[in-house]
Structure formats: C-alpha cells, structure tokens
Amino acid sequence: MNKSKVYITIPMYNDEKMILNVIKSLKENGYNNIVVVDDGSKDNGYNVVKDNTDAIITKHIINRGQGAALQTGMEIAIDKGAKYIVHFDSDGQHDVKDIDHMLDTLIEGKYDIILGSRFLQKNDIPLKKRIVLKLGILFTYLLSQIWLTDVHNGLRVMTSETAKKLNLQHDRMEHASEILDKIKVLNLKYKEVPVTIHYTEYSQAKGQSISNSINIAFKLISSKLK
C-alpha cells in the first residue's frame, strides 16, 4: 500500500536510548512520515532525533503527559495532510510489522480505528502487568460499556477523521481509556487485532505502576461525574 499518507505519531519522554532504533525500524519498513513529540524530556532525546534523523520533531517546553503529546502529534500530522495516523510508543515495545496488517484491516474493513491487543496472540506478559491489565478491562467495561481484550495498548491505527473526532482532553495516561470511551460514545467502527509487545527490562522499568493505575481510575471516575 501507499504509505505516503500514513503518519506515525510518537510521544517521547526520556527515551533517548531507544528512539533512534524505533525511527530506524519505521523507516526500514517504509514509514517516512514520523512525528515525534518530545514531552518535556530531561534527557537529550530531542537533539538526538533532530541531529540524526529527518523525522518531524518538536518539544513540549514542559511535561504535559502522554495524552497531551499524542494530541499535539495528531494535530501536526493532520496539518501535514495525514490520511491515516498511527500511535506508536518510543520505548521499543511495539513491533513495526504490526502496523502493516493493522492498516490493511482498517482500509479493507472500512473501520474508523484499529486497536492493538497483546492478549489476542501469545505474548510473555509479566504476571503483575497481566493482573493490572485484566482489571483495566473490567474497569473499562463498567465505565464505558465496551468489552475489549486489551485496554491500555498504545498501538493504534486510525483515519485522520477519527483522530479529529477523538480530540483528546485527558493529558496523562487516562487518554487510553478516553479513546475507548469516545469509540463507544461516537459509535466508531473499531476492531482489535493481535500485536506483539516486546517486554524488555527497559520498557518494564518505564511501564505503569499499580498506584498509577489507581490514580488513572480515580481521574476517570471523577471526569465521568462532572
């Protein structure tokens, strides 16, 4: 397929060690439109990307959270003429090869959004992470009445129209649940597809803690009560 209208949006926070590998693998697979939003990192990631790649790079002058960085990235991609937008993590957890079949599914099935699921294929998910994610599935169902196999997977592919409709309001990690909530509310056509997640020591150290999951749940409930 023609990948010239596909824009990869990468929110980056203190990932100078991994970001070049991520961009390199995307380029090798024909994804040349890459938007990296440095979310106020304390490391040198911004300069690493600027000096070593031709990816579109910009920086939040202060840290605003992954949701805010994704929204900034999506707005830039739309301004640049994106037809399809991909959410991709900067820590090397995602597999570039998954984007191909997600895009194919999106286009062939005329879906609005395709969500990656680590539970639809064999992934060696650490037990603690597995429990938190399963609780997240239940929580999402109770809050948004949408039953999925994976609710906090950062790999998503969508049309630019969908990206415009999503218009993320939650700046921090709650954006993942906000997307699912909006899929339900806006009646978007979606599908979950199996994806590979590479759990490394590096990505594990950067992952969500249980206390942060509780914090996310609290923020989502209070936003629902408004």
């Binding site: 790079i57 910009t58 920086k59 605003r64 805010a68 900034t72 830039i76 700046d171």
Partner: protein
C-alpha cells in the same frame, strides 16, 4: 473555655497575615474582606453562649450546636476542595493548550 481563646488566637494570627498581605498588595483587598467576614462569623459563633448555639442544634435536629458547626464546616471544606480541583483542572487544560501552540510553532524538519 480555653478552646475559645486558642481558636480566637489562631483567627487573629490568620487575619494579621492577611492584613500584611493586603498592605503589600492592595489588589488583595476583596479577598481580605471575604475572609474577614468569614472569620468574623466564626468568631461570633465561638463566643456565643453555649445554650444559644445548642438552640441552633435543636433547630437542625442535631443534639449539640457545636456539632452543627462541625458538620457545616465539613460540608464547606468539601465544597471548597471540589471548587479548587475544578479550578486546577481548568488551569491544567489551559497550560496544555498554551504548550501545544508553542510546540506547533517550533516544529523542526
């Protein structure tokens, strides 16, 4: 009762602090007026005779008058926290909007 003197002392300290702030920055005058009235009412309640406050308690169907004041204070505090968190959320959204605009102007490549 000794508690009345302690509470009065604390209120006076708070009001003096506010007064010093207002002397440094006149724009805070309205704030001082609001808190002056608020703490003034608190002082009145502190020094009202016990049986007068208890009548208030009976009016609300709560045994002692002081309990009514405690309940009202808790309601006020919850409301105040709610309003403050709303304000913080709004500010957070505005900061993000501002940061995003600056970010979009500084795109490289």
């Amino acid at each position: 009762m000794i508690i009345q003197y302690i509470a009065t002392g604390i209120i006076i300290v708070v009001l003096i602090q506010f007064l010093i702030k207002v002397l440094k920055d006149r724009t805070q005058l309205i704030k001082l007026l609001f808190w002056g009235i608020f703490w003034g009412i608190a002082l009145v309640f502190i020094w009202l005779p016990t049986n007068t406050i208890d009548k208030l308690g009976q009016l609300f169907g709560v045994g002692r008058g002081i309990d009514v004041l405690v309940y009202l204070s808790i309601i006020f505090l919850f409301y105040y926290i709610f309003r403050q968190s709303e304000k913080i959320n709004k500010l957070e959204k505005e900061i993000t909007k501002l940061v995003r605009e600056i970010t979009k102007e500084r795109i490289q490549n």
